[in-house]
């Protein structure tokens, strides 16, 4: 039963990351915050607590259409990518 929980290496990664990002977005969307307002909190959370590899994977997944990502999570990924790019440019 559990073997089907991860169908081979890597497969499950994105799906699980999407769930995690959506959960974070759900918290920051509390009290009727619009996705745009929630996205800052989400992006900040991902930056502070996620290993860069996980962030990169999710950003890449976002580029492939990002099926299943909530609006706030999707917006957060855009912000995150922009911030990373400008940080890299500054270096």
């Amino acid at each position: 039963m559990s073997e089907s929980a991860h169908q081979g290496p890597g497969h499950k990664g994105a799906a699980h990351l999407v769930e995690m990002a959506n959960d974070i977005a759900a918290f920051f969307s509390g009290a009727g915050h619009a996705p745009a307002a929630a996205a800052d909190g989400v992006a900040d959370h991902l930056r502070k607590f996620w290993d860069p590899r996980m962030r990169r994977k999710l950003i890449a997944y976002g580029h492939q259409g990002g099926a299943g990502l909530s609006d706030a999570a999707r917006l957060a990924l855009v912000k995150l990518e922009a911030a990373t790019a400008s940080a890299n440019a500054a270096e």
Binding site: M1, S2, E3, A5, H6, P9, G10, K12, G13, H16, E19, M20, D23, I24, A26, F27, S29, G30, A31, H45, R47, K48, F49, W50, D51, P52, R53, M54
Partner: protein
């Protein structure tokens, strides 16, 4: 029997009374003293002391038997009588408080004659086999016979007595044989003097009320419950009665076996987050018995069955004493030298990093090991591995506490000390089961409840505290698992909408913008108890009443456990609790606060020591340049500024072949982490797993290098308990495998090419203090001086900080956060209609690696699944039947315990035995903020079955195979039988 080194002052230090909000901040009366004269000497003692205590404090020893400092005075033996000028007769000094100007005589001919008469009566019904008695050398009765100069016993033993089994050839009806049912102590009634110290210890100190004095006069005797054996009775084997007994009647079996100890060292229990202080009473390098330290700041001389008795694991024959390696997990283990094992581990780690990158390895620190050891492992990972892939088992228990409290109050720790509960008027227990999980603190809490504090319990299950002798919860909010946030929001709704907010506190201490936003949010109708009732299952009237009681009943103190944190909204709930405490002004003084009950002995410490991948010691983020620079300079390396992988992320990365080497110190992730099959798949995918532990635990079955660790008895260091209290762990014997754990980490660091040269753990603590502001004033010398220290300890608080956030929150103003209830993804449906939740039991400890290797199994030798009679009947399940439990993650089989403790729709189990596979069923759902697993909510189905699950069969086969591979390493690797 008391510790061999503690002096018994006869009665406890005077306690000041406190009732409610107004008096809690009044100065302790203990500051007032009284002058009196004892045997012609002027003495000065604290007001409220007994004459007995006043004398003892001044080196004057009045004979006594029924009195002990451990308990309130009782005044039954009449041995401690004295003469006091102006008072009639011979008052008992243990029950007579001192008064100014009192003139006391403790010795004269009349007193001597009276005392001798008392002793003669006692001895006339007591055996005279002192030479072969286990108490010999430390028996209070013998000492008192000597002190009063007893020279003859005129009554003889021919009459009625409790001493002999036969009387003139006939059975003696008064005689009771030894009760040896308890694995740790015996009860030999023939030696009992009916002083009732044991009975009072069980009542006052432990709060179990298992013992009584039956009958009256000469026939009276001590009995456990309704004249049962100790094991059949209510007794929880805390040992308080054994410690209180002045004779050999109640004696530890180890004392009977080994004889009196000759020296004693203070150390700290290595089981739970209460962090009880103990005296290890030693014979050379052998522990004779563990006696709770009367001066222990967390436990005040009390303990539970684990800390006092369950230490046999440290010398268990399963313990592995030699390093071992193997290339593949299907290979037999091979015993090697320490040099070879360390060199092999280091070369493998280097090989993996060369091939897969610097981020492809990591480490897991232990919440069982000392602060110094934990600090060293995270330093190894950050400095020697060169990445931030370090995490700790706190990830799977209290990480939401760290996150939630930091966000709201500004510090990742509980706000009070344990003693604070004695000032609480309303105690709220949420998702915690203190009588099982934190027994010594539970005893203190029960003492306060018996004094009249009110109790609110929020728990899906009817925990013992809900109804126990002399205690009943005012409200038991029996919510559905997974609806904590809905409940806390509706409690807050009542506070906000019924005008119960402490406006002055909020105005002075909290951020007004965040408060207003929060107030508006919780006031919304969707958060009302009436609307939330459909979600939580808790009647709205109960919620309203509980909220009013908490907000208006005086000092309100919240205690919570893993039932709060181990949810998909664990962090949200922690913030919700902090919001509620701030809104009602229940924070920043004694008797109130937000108190996480930490699981393992050093879970607070392991978090403090920088075990999380995103922060350095002292909870400072790795991206904070100033902090990173500080560590870079001190450690002479470049450090990464990005967070590393958390434990569950490590597993994912392993399956993606990006993370292939792991150093695990004293933690059993293969048993303790959720979705076992996912964890074991990840471990099997790794190329080098190094396990440092006492036993070949479940994780070690997937390891390539085994480094034998040391028990808490074998090393120096410190543990930090749930109250932020740093206490010393002291070495009482040499490491049985050759090295203490910190030394092993140091060897590994050096082999990796990063030099570490600590000669003693105190040097590690000095480094921690240099680099961590909240620890600036901490050193081994300072802890030795003060006994223990609660951090923050620095120039502003040189003696530590019992209560936090007094005038100001650590973050400045308290911050309210909006906590919207989001139902968990783990939903019941037709296929999985029940919710499984998990918990612990008193006698076993977590994964049970230690307690399963002690006699504690006699209380709990298998995990069972608790199911409501209604659900059981529907499925044709009877008590004791085998029940298959299936979830979306896996399935296992356990025996049923049909009970109304759980509500219909909910099943419950403990997870102390690996073959139970409780975590085969739990899923990978986790807290949104910290990835703390959602252990407390799993949708399952239960069915009656006749055989173990497939997983269990595979588990058995794999375990047998691994045991075989271990046996091939030869008998040498095990501890001597």
């Amino acid at each position: 029997m008391r510790s061999i080194v503690e002096q018994d002052l006869g009665t406890p230090a005077p306690k000041f009374r406190n009732v409610g909000r107004t008096t809690t901040t009044a100065p302790a009366a203990a500051n007032k003293t009284v002058m009196l004269t004892i045997d012609g000497r002027e003495v000065e003692v604290a007001e409220g002391s007994s004459v007995l205590r006043a004398a003892a404090l001044n080196g004057i020893h009045i004979p006594k038997l029924c009195a002990t400092e451990q308990l309130d005075a009782f005044g039954s033996c009449r041995l401690c009588l004295v003469q006091i000028e102006g008072m009639k007769g011979y008052p008992a000094s243990c029950t007579t408080p001192v008064a100014a100007g009192m003139k006391v005589s403790t010795q004269n001919d009349k007193l001597a004659a009276l005392r001798r008469g008392v002793m003669e009566l006692y001895i006339s019904d007591h055996p005279l086999d002192c030479l072969t008695c286990p108490a010999n050398g430390h028996c209070e009765l013998q000492d008192m016979a000597g002190a009063v100069g007893l020279r003859e016993v005129r009554y003889g033993y021919d009459g009625a007595n409790h001493v002999y089994a036969k009387q003139q050839g006939e059975d003696n009806a008064l005689f009771v044989g030894k009760d040896e049912s308890n694995p740790y102590f015996t009860f030999d009634a023939s030696k009992c003097i009916v002083c009732s110290r044991c009975v009072r210890a069980c009542d006052e100190q432990q709060g179990t009320l298992a013992l009584t004095i039956q009958s009256r006069g000469f026939a009276s005797k001590v009995a456990a419950s309704q004249d049962e054996t100790f094991m059949q009775s209510e007794c929880v084997s805390c040992g308080a009665c054994v410690q209180a007994c002045p004779t050999a009647t109640l004696s530890e079996k180890t004392l009977i076996d080994k004889g009196q100890a000759e020296h004693s060292r203070i150390t700290t229990c290595a089981y739970c987050g209460v962090g009880c202080s103990f005296r290890a009473e030693m014979k050379g390098e052998e522990v004779v018995r563990m006696v709770p330290n009367q001066d222990g700041h967390a436990n005040h001389g009390h303990s539970c069955v684990k800390g006092r008795f369950a230490i046999g694991y440290a010398t268990h024959s399963d313990r592995i004493m030699k390093p071992m390696i193997r290339a593949k997990i299907s290979d037999p283990w091979r015993e090697v030298s320490w040099e070879e094992a360390i060199a092999y581990a280091a070369s493998e780690f280097k090989r993996i990093q060369a091939k897969y990158g610097v981020d492809s390895i990591g480490g897991i620190t232990s919440s069982r090991c000392t602060n110094e050891e934990t600090y060293l492992v995270q330093k190894l990972v950050r400095a020697a591995f060169g990445n931030n892939n370090v995490d700790t088992c706190a990830r799977v228990c209290h990480s939401p506490t760290g996150y939630g409290l930091k966000q709201t109050l500004g510090e990742s720790a509980g706000t009070q000390n344990f003693d604070s509960v004695m000032h609480a008027d309303v105690i709220v227990v949420i998702g915690a089961n203190p009588t099982d999980g934190h027994p010594v603190f539970a005893s203190q809490m029960k003492r306060r409840l018996r004094q009249g504090a009110r109790l609110i319990v929020a728990d899906p299950r009817r925990i013992d505290l809900v109804r126990t002798p002399h205690i009943a919860a005012d409200h038991h909010l029996q919510l559905r698992p997974g609806t904590n946030v809905a409940l806390i929001n509706s409690l807050a709704h009542v506070v906000v909408t019924e005008g119960l907010v402490d406006e002055a506190f909020v105005r002075a201490r909290c951020e007004s913008a965040s408060f207003e936003q929060w107030r508006e949010f919780v006031a919304d109708a969707h958060n009302s108890p009436e609307q939330m009732e459909a979600v939580t299952g808790v009647p709205a009237v109960e919620v309203r009443a509980a909220a009013r009681l908490y907000a208006t009943g005086g000092n309100g103190a919240i205690y919570y456990g893993l039932g709060v944190t181990e949810h998909s909204q664990g962090s949200t709930m922690v913030m919700g609790i902090a919001n509620l405490a701030m809104a009602t002004g229940n924070i920043g003084r004694e008797g109130v606060g937000v108190n996480p009950l930490r699981g393992q002995n050093n879970v607070q410490g392991s978090c403090d020591m920088g075990s999380f991948p995103h922060e350095f010691p002292g909870y400072r983020h790795v991206s904070d340049d100033a902090t990173r620079l500080l560590f870079e300079n001190a450690w002479q390396v470049t450090l990464q500024n990005e967070p590393g992988l958390r434990i569950p992320n490590m597993f994912e990365a392993a399956l993606d072949r990006e993370f292939l080497g792991l150093y695990v110190e004293g933690e059993d992730i293969a048993q303790s982490d959720p979705n076992t099959q996912h964890v074991t798949a990840a471990l099997s995918a790794m190329e080098c797993v190094v396990v440092q532990d006492l036993f070949l635990n479940e994780t070690a079955k997937f390891a390539h290098v085994f480094l034998p660790g040391s028990s808490f008895l074998e090393k120096d260091g410190t543990f930090t308990n749930a109250e932020r209290r740093i206490s010393r762990v002291r070495k009482v014997m040499h490491p049985k495998s050759g090295y203490a754990d910190w030394e092993i980490t140091q060897l590994l660091a050096n082999a990796m090419g990063y030099a570490m040269n600590y000669a003693h753990p105190s040097e590690i603590m000095d480094e921690i203090a240099r680099l961590t502001p909240t620890f600036a004033g901490v050193s081994f010398a300072r802890i030795d001086e003060l006994g223990s220290i609660q951090w923050p300890c620095n120039d502003a608080h040189p003696d530590g900080t019992p209560t936090m956030h007094i005038d100001e929150f650590v973050r400045g103003k308290g911050r309210f956060l909006v906590t919207e209830y989001v139902p968990t993804r783990e939903k019941v449906n037709a296929k999985f209609p029940l919710i499984l939740t998990t918990g612990r039991i008193l006698s076993q400890y977590n994964v049970g690696a230690q307690t399963r290797r002690t006699f504690n199994n006699q209380w709990h030798d298998e995990d069972r699944v608790e199911i409501h009679p209604h659900d059981a009947e529907e499925r044709g399940i009877a008590d004791g039947d085998w029940v298959g439990i299936a979830s979306r993650a896996g399935d296992t089989v356990l025996r049923a315990q049909v009970t109304e403790r759980v509500q219909p729709g909910v099943v419950y189990t403990t997870f102390h035995f690996p073959e139970s596979g409780a975590n085969v069923i739990t899923t990978e759902n986790s807290d949104w903020a910290t990835n703390c697993p959602e252990y407390k909510v799993t949708a399952v189905q239960c069915t009656r079955v006749s055989q173990p699950s497939d997983w269990q069969k595979r588990f058995r086969a794999f375990s047998d195979l691994q045991q075989d591979l271990l046996n091939k390493a030869g008998a040498d690797v095990f501890a001597a039988k």
